[in-house]
Amino acid sequence: MSSTAIEALQPEEKAENAGFALWLHQIQAILKLEVKKNLWSLRSILIYLLAFLPVVICLLIALTVFLTSAAGDPGWREEFAQVMAKTFTFIYNGLILRTVVFFGCAWIFMNLFRGEVVDRSLHYYFLCPVRREVLVVGKYLSGLIASTIIFSLATIGSLFFLYLAGYPSSINYLVQGVGLRHAGIYVGITILACVGYGSFFLLVGLLFRNPILPALALFGWEWINYLLPPLLKKISVIHYLHSLNPVPMDEGPFAVLAEPTPAWLAIPGLLLLTIVVLALACWKIRLAEISYSGE
């Protein structure tokens, strides 16, 4: 049934007849409210500060390199692209992916429901003729849109500023060929990280009154992932993102495994994990009661 056809129905008929098209319409309405809230509320200031951090660090690195004699050394300039690619991989994996995107998603997605309970405004949605599962999907997508915009820009911004040190040749490298491909892959990994972490943190926000400790536990779990046996590795987001890295590292927690999960398996694996976690969130929200006392 088309969206126009739904609008023509009587309100009571809408629920009985519209089905999937009605849910889409409701998700759109939820997105309209929630994306604005996620991007422009007071709570989002913290996210912007966090996202700004790697951009500033990359800018400082670029300035330092630019101002040192190394930048003028023709031999060094030849290796510039390689050095910066490795440097960015290090910054991306250590700071952007595992810290900024991780805690940013924690803040955005945990607040989708937890924040409403703290603000005592969750009943606003619970009193609408919306299936609670539709509410979960709508809120999750709103968080995904907000986090994707913010952290993709942070990824691109960091990469751009880091390569600014070798201006102008480095910028040419970045906007064409391998550099551009790498930038696209990093943004893709960032989006996938938002997809995966977002679902986990949405569930955490529904399950726990104080979600800080579970978030820290998850943070630890992601960091020790490279030490875990193969089966346990699969129950983490970083496992699937790891092998997508365009610039492999040789050792340490960022080192790509000897037999990395291929992209064609890693991406569906992560999406499957996300669907399972969101299904758990839907089950939890169906049982949820409004009880603001003690919050």
Partner: protein, 317 residues
């Protein structure tokens, strides 16, 4: 209309426990169209019953059906039901108009429909003038009106109202009671909770008395009214000129006692006929242009009246 299950709100042996604490226990009710009041002191289980009816809480035991729909089917339930809750919080940064319009958009009304319905709802509760101001800046009474407008905006068949007159001044109370009567005459189910018996007396067709989580009596309000009329209502007024007000109030036949507050900023009144008193009082305030800070029934005494009713019921067993 025949009283089938599709026209009734049914509680079938419903109990709700919060851990080991009793919310309500073994509630059996069949509520038909018209105004039904849930009456009981604070903490008696009125809000629990309302939250159960609207699916915000899930019963520990028993079944609930609202016009044949389970409260756990929000998609259908909230097209037919509006709930004016006591939760005094709103999404951040919204105006009164945005609050209702976005609520209707989530209902899946089109932009034009939502705009029209929002206007009508705001007009019905008398909040049009303040519609474009942020809800955060509203007075308590205005927030109450905003919640009320939100609950009636989609033209529901069942309206659940938790202490809907709280925070409203006497004029607004009279208007809102008029609105409830008009909605009931359109065939709606109105379930109104109150711990103020005088209000219940003014507007209800039926009354359900709740105490300590149990429904202890239900039925026609006339019987309850007769009990109430034997006891004077007590009212507390905070105002700028309590002495002048007291001198006028003393001349009213229905007033049996009027006492100034110790801080000389208010007045305590006992009246045999609260309806008549409120009418005369409104007239006095308008004629003399007195600034009135608040008018409220004295809770303690109303709880005492309630206890009196419970006592009577208990003795009759």
């Amino acid at each position: 209309m025949a009283e089938t299950d599709d026209n009734l709100i049914i509680f079938d042996n419903v109990s709700k426990f919060y851990g080991e604490i009793l919310g309500v226990n073994r509630v059996n009710l069949k509520i038909s169209a018209g105004i039904t009041s849930l009456v009981g002191p604070n903490g008696s289980g009125k809000t629990t019953l309302m939250n159960l009816m609207t699916g915000l809480l899930q019963p520990t035991r028993g079944k609930i059906s609202v016009l044949g729909i389970s409260p756990y089917n929000p998609e259908q339930l909230f097209r037919r039901l509006g709930y004016c809750s006591q939760f005094d919080s709103f999404p951040r940064g919204v105006t009164g108009r945005e609050l209702i319009r976005s609520f209707l958009t989530v209902h899946s009304y089109s932009k034009t429909e939502a705009k029209e319905l929002t206007h009508k709802a705001l007009e019905r509760v008398g909040l049009l003038d303040a519609a474009d101001r942020k809800v955060a800046g509203y007075s308590k009474g205005m927030r109450q009106k905003a919640r009320l407008a939100q609950s009636i905006a989609h033209n529901p068949r069942v309206l659940v109202l938790d202490e809907p007159l709280n925070g409203l001044d006497p004029m607004a109370r009279a208007e809102v009671i008029g609105l409830f009567r008009s909605l009931a005459s359109e065939g709606l189910h109105l379930i109104i909770s109150s711990h103020i018996l005088h209000e219940v007396d003014m507007m209800s067709d039926n009354v359900i008395l709740v105490s300590n989580g149990y429904v202890i009596a239900e039925g026609n309000v006339r019987g309850v009214r007769e009990e109430i009329e034997e006891r004077p209502a007590e009212i507390v007024i905070r105002c700028q000129y309590p002495t002048a007000l007291a001198s006028k109030v003393f001349t009213m036949d229905s007033v049996v006692e009027a006492r100034l507050h110790k801080d000389q900023k208010g007045l305590f009144v006992k009246t045999k006929d609260a309806d008549k008193f409120y009418l005369m009082f409104n007239k006095l305030v308008i004629e003399n242009d007195w600034g009135i800070e608040s008018v409220a029934p004295a809770d303690d005494d109303l709880n005492a009246v309630y206890q009196y009713l419970i006592g009577t019921e208990g003795e009759g067993r």
